[in-house]
Amino acid sequence: MLLDPDGRPTAAGAARLPAGEELLRGLAGMITARRFNDQASALVRQGRLAVYPSSHGQEGCQVAAAQVLDDGDWLFPTYRDTAAAVARGVDPVEVLGLLKGDWHSGYDPYERRVAPLTTPLATQLPHAVGVAHAARLRGEGTVVLAMCGDGATSEGDFHEALNFAAVFRAPVVFFVQNNQYAISVPLARQTAAPTLAHKGVGYGIPGEQVDGNDLAALLDVLSGAVERARAGEGPQLVEGRTYRMQAHTNADDATRYRADGEVAAWVARDPLVRLETYLRTDGILDDARAAAFADAAEQVARRTRDGINRDVVPDPDDLFRYVYSEPTSQLVEQLALVHDELSRDESSRDESSRGEQSRAEAHR
């Protein structure tokens, strides 16, 4: 911890606090991330997104993960790490592609070097190791930061990825956002380890736990890990202790498994408030700058809203277009069938004879 929950530098903080501009950038990022999260949640309520797993409360982790990376590095996010992808510069509307339901993934992963948001837990971690290893084979200085949740650490893929990374000394920073829950399951039923950072020991990977609601500490610890990985010291494990302040997704009912008091205690440790308090107290942040940050966040929210509210007419042909580099003869035949159906649909709109109307309805 470099800043205590009330925004006062700790002893360690006095020595290692990142530069003011870095912290301001971080604060701006968190303000945008928070606004983006809340905008996306609102869009779910309005029926514009299928589902949204919000990182509200985890914005420190989200922003730090992006901020410590160079342009040539890679970020591997989970479904919850939309704000991290936005912080890395991916278009917010494209980030929400998966959750809007137009397509499985919305952005070009190569553009900002952000892998697709991954849903099957921990499965992206071995991918991250492979990407890092390929870069290393070519002598590139790429670092890969791979994110996952506390629950995901129980999956076999977490284990296999860390072990591969250690054996190949791949430049990967595994960043576990321990938000205390895997949907309804609390950490104590997920693991009996003293901390998740201890999970590095069995792989020969240095592990460090950090206050995940303290952006200053996150930047300090994560950038240290990134630098060590870049310097050839092999993979690093960082656990950020944070909290999922809202339900798992809009479909979840968090009151079934946790008490309001617990949530309130964590809300009191809000990462935005903590950093802003410090920056204002220390005179680094003034009202003008704060207003500019809020403005920028509002712009992202507006762009998000506008983009998501824009109706895209999805093209059924796309379903057949990307399965293989060349469609198989089977897919060519099947697409023809779809076209045939669609044209019957069309014609039924005029004719409405022989029950075609109701067929078209069922079809839609």
């Binding site: 999956e155 076999g156 309804s184 059924p316 379903l319 198989t328 069938l337 079809h363």
Partner: protein
């Protein structure tokens, strides 16, 4: 011997499954329910709602988040006197457990000449039609049905959901119990109590008809029924067979049905290639060859990854696609 009074209630499929679990757990203390979020939360579909409260944490409990571990752990429980029921949260999230399912659950009995039985049930919410994002709508039945040693069943209504799950839990063999997600909220009358019939292995003719036979299972059954109704309005009489049990397969009921009409359409949500629908089409084509007036048609998912929510209607067998396939059954030759 006691005769249990059979009560009737109108329940959703999710509620019927919940009741089957509740009743089986009441009857036999060896029945355990485990998985991700099945405890206090009651599962993401609330299928296990109230079980922890009623039976305690030892009987219905959350596990760490690891599906291979869950399946393997259940193998051990079953080896040692328990009757575990596992919930996989969604179809695609059962894949990490594939090795445990194929290499152990399906083979343990055979490996040990019947000495080690595995009375366990794996419940898998499967298939689409609920606007779910990627990995939440896979129709994975063909992977299981192709694996010798597993029973594979799937109800199409609350009543079958109850009796099939009761018989799955009572079975000394492992059962993959596939729950059509889009039918979780569909309601129907359910006879409760100690009822295990209809059980594993029996198909049923859901609707009589004389012109052609629609063969469906799970989520495709209501669509087939709708198509048959629509066809009736058009003057064509379609019979509908609901498999209920994919393995074992009820050849007798299916063949009798097809032979009675001479025409057949197989309907399934899963991608068609090398699937359960292929098996049904191949079986019927072979066994009913001389009764067939037209080739057996298949209306299945296309051979593509399951679409995103906005496009899933393209993939799902629809009334229109079924009726078009029926239209194609070479009536002009008749």
């Amino acid at each position: 011997m006691t005769t249990t009074a059979v009560a009737h209630e109108t329940l959703s499929t999710a509620q019927a499954i919940n009741r089957a679990l509740h009743d089986a757990m009441t009857e036999d203390p060896a029945v355990l329910m485990l998985g991700e979020d099945v405890g206090p939360l009651g599962g993401v579909f609330r299928v296990t709602d109230g079980l922890t409260a009623t039976f305690g944490e030892d009987r219905c409990f959350d596990t760490p988040l690891a599906e291979a571990g869950i399946a393997g752990f259940a193998v051990g429980l079953a080896m040692n006197g328990m009757r575990p029921v596992v919930e996989m949260q969604f179809d695609a999230f059962a894949y990490p457990a594939f090795e445990q399912v194929v290499s152990h659950i399906a083979k343990m009995r055979n490996r040990t000449r019947g000495r080690v039985e595995l009375p366990l049930v794996i419940r898998v919410p499967y298939a689409g039609g609920i606007g779910g994002v990627e990995h939440h709508c896979d129709s994975s039945e063909s992977y299981y049905a192709h694996t010798p040693g597993l029973h594979v069943v799937t109800p199409s209504n609350p009543s079958d959901a109850y009796s099939l799950l009761r018989s799955a839990i009572a079975s000394p063999d492992p059962v993959i119990f596939l729950e059509p997600k889009k039918l979780y909220w569909a309601k129907g009358e359910v006879a409760l109590g100690d009822r295990r019939e209809p059980g594993i292995g029996t198909a049923v003719v859901r609707r009589q008809g004389t012109d052609a036979t629609l063969i469906a299972y799970g989520p495709a059954v209501p669509v087939a029924m709708e198509a048959a109704e629509e066809a009736a309005r058009e003057g064509r009489s379609l019979q509908v067979v609901d498999l209920r049990s994919i393995v074992p397969f009820d050849d007798a009921t299916v063949c009798a049905a097809v032979e009675s009409t001479g025409r057949a359409v197989v309907i399934a949500e899963a991608a068609g290639f090398a699937s359960v629908a292929s098996e049904i089409a191949a079986r019927v084509s072979e066994r009913c060859f001389h009764s067939l007036s037209a080739p057996v048609r298949r209306v299945t998912g296309f051979d593509i990854p399951y679409p995103p929510p906005k496009l899933e209607h393209v993939q799902l067998p629809s009334v229109a696609r079924i009726l078009d396939a029926v239209d194609d059954l070479q009536w002009e030759d008749a």
